[in-house]
């Protein structure tokens, strides 16, 4: 019979193992994390882009803008020193040498997504306004990729 205490200690042992395994992965593979996060942004942008070519749906707009809005804070911490050396990394060296400009774009992305969320929360009434808000968000993608992302073949 497994007692509550044993199952508890088993769980904590498993947790400890999991943390041992997973934390170095997080710390040592920021490149993978960055790619995953950027792909999630792509998915959300795609959902919004398709929606806008189809029928306006404020809920799709809001939900996806919220996902992107959470990105800048996470992204800021994902560029530890040396993580530009990974051959899979598309991060340009300027992220490390000209950090202020990079952070500024992330802040602008946060502000522009927040503004787009506010428009989306107006429901159908926000439809006409949302296109412009989406455009402002998209500009951040471009300006960041222009300076801070290397030309790269997809893997």
């Amino acid at each position: 019979m497994i007692t509550n205490t044993t199952s508890l200690s088993l769980t904590s042992a498993l947790m400890a193992v999991f943390m041992l395994v997973s934390s170095p992965v997080l710390a040592e593979n920021p490149v993978h994390e960055r790619h995953e996060l950027m792909e999630s942004v792509g998915k959300s942008m795609k959902a919004i882009g398709k929606m806008m070519q189809d029928f306006y749906d404020a809920k799709v707009a809001e939900d996806n803008m919220k996902i992107i809005n959470a990105v800048p804070d996470k992204f800021k911490t994902m560029f530890p020193k040396g993580s530009d050396k990974d051959p899979k990394s598309a991060a340009a060296p300027k992220i490390w040498t000209e950090r202020a400009g990079f952070d500024k774009i992330l802040e602008s992305l946060k502000a522009d997504t927040a503004a787009a969320i506010a428009v989306a929360q107006k429901g159908d009434a926000g439809e006409a306004e949302f296109g412009g808000a989406f455009g402002k968000v998209a500009k951040n993608c471009k300006s960041c990729h222009q300076t801070y992302k290397l030309k790269k073949e997809k893997h």
């Binding site: 942008m45 598309a90 998209a138 990729h145 290397l150």
Partner: protein
């Protein structure tokens, strides 16, 4: 001994003579010039060609005075000043604003056509192929005349161009005469009768003004495009990174529909909604000024290219 010396001198003179002849800067024929005289310049079409040709990508004054960044705030400020750092050395992009002394304001039609078709300056010197005359050479006479008229309508800028800073063998411009014999087509570009109107238009925009192959193809050690791998992607010559394969191979754009290509050129979003980066940002912004029909033609032509695997 004297005989050997003499024959060496003769050989050197003959060699020099051959080099001299082989590297003579090209000229525009009298007939070609005559054909230009009857053309009436249309500055609006010139503006369109300015976008199709991406002149600003290199010649616009760089933003924040950072010469190695592919960014500018005013596409119509053509003072130059961008620097292209390549394995051959650094190319400093010149002023092409209509300033009479420091830009190209004093250029005649034939000066402009000589530069765009033969890569030769009004003073009779070879231009380096960092200026993509290998592609611009394919532009129609009408489009060239229109483009010159549009450039002439912009604000003159009193900014002196910087000399290039190149590595040794490449410093000798005269040698470019040989380069051009190898890599610059001498025949005029013509529509391909086997292609329909849309594909011919796409081919013209891609191969001519758009000069897509100049970045998207690998080059040999002399800096000439490797024809068999044209459009197949390349390690970036300028800056860092890898420039993607534009052919419909699985390494390239096989899974992009023609609609995806046209949409990406209009909006900057690729099919997975990743957005274009680096120097492609400004290229796309220029392409966004073209008509939907022209973007569709570009897309159709790219989809018709022979699939080439990316070079590992």
């Amino acid at each position: 001994m004297k005989k050997i010396l003499l024959s060496l001198v003769v050989a050197a003179l003959a060699g020099g003579g051959i080099f001299y002849v082989l590297t003579l800067p090209g000229q525009i024929s009298v007939d070609e010039l005559e054909s230009f005289k009857n053309l009436k310049a249309n500055s609006e079409n010139g503006r369109y060609m300015f976008y199709a040709g991406g002149c600003a990508s290199c010649h616009a004054k760089p933003a924040k005075n950072k010469c190695d960044e592919p960014n500018y705030t005013d596409a119509f400020d053509l003072s130059g000043g961008r620097c292209l750092k390549t394995p051959f050395g650094t190319f400093n992009v010149p002023n092409i604003s209509p300033n009479q002394k420091l830009g190209i304001g004093s250029w005649s039609h034939s000066d402009f056509i000589l530069a765009m078709r033969k890569g030769v300056s009004p003073g009779g010197k070879h231009y380096y192929p960092a200026f993509p005359y290998t592609s611009y050479q394919k532009m129609t006479s009408q489009d060239l005349v229109d483009l010159q008229a549009f450039l002439g309508s912009l604000a003159p800028k009193a900014v002196a161009s910087l000399p290039h800073d190149l590595k040794l063998p490449f410093r000798f411009r005269r040698g470019l005469g040989l380069w051009k014999r190898l890599y610059l087509a001498s025949a005029p570009f013509k529509n391909d009768p086997s292609l329909d109107t849309q594909l011919n238009r796409g081919r013209y925009l891609v191969e001519g003004p758009g000069h897509c192959s100049e970045c998207h193809s690998p080059r040999d050690s002399f800096g000439g495009i490797i024809t068999a791998r044209k459009f197949g992607g390349s390690k970036a010559l300028e800056g860092k990174g890898y420039i993607p394969n534009l052919t419909p191979h699985k390494d390239g754009i096989a899974d992009w529909s023609a609609k995806d290509i046209a949409y990406s050129l209009k909006t900057g979003f690729m099919p997975d909604y990743d957005s274009f980066g680096s120097s492609m940002v400004k290229v796309q912004e220029n392409m966004a000024h073209l008509t939907d029909a022209d973007r569709a033609a570009i897309a159709a032509y790219l989809k018709s290219l022979k699939p080439i695997a990316r070079k590992k």
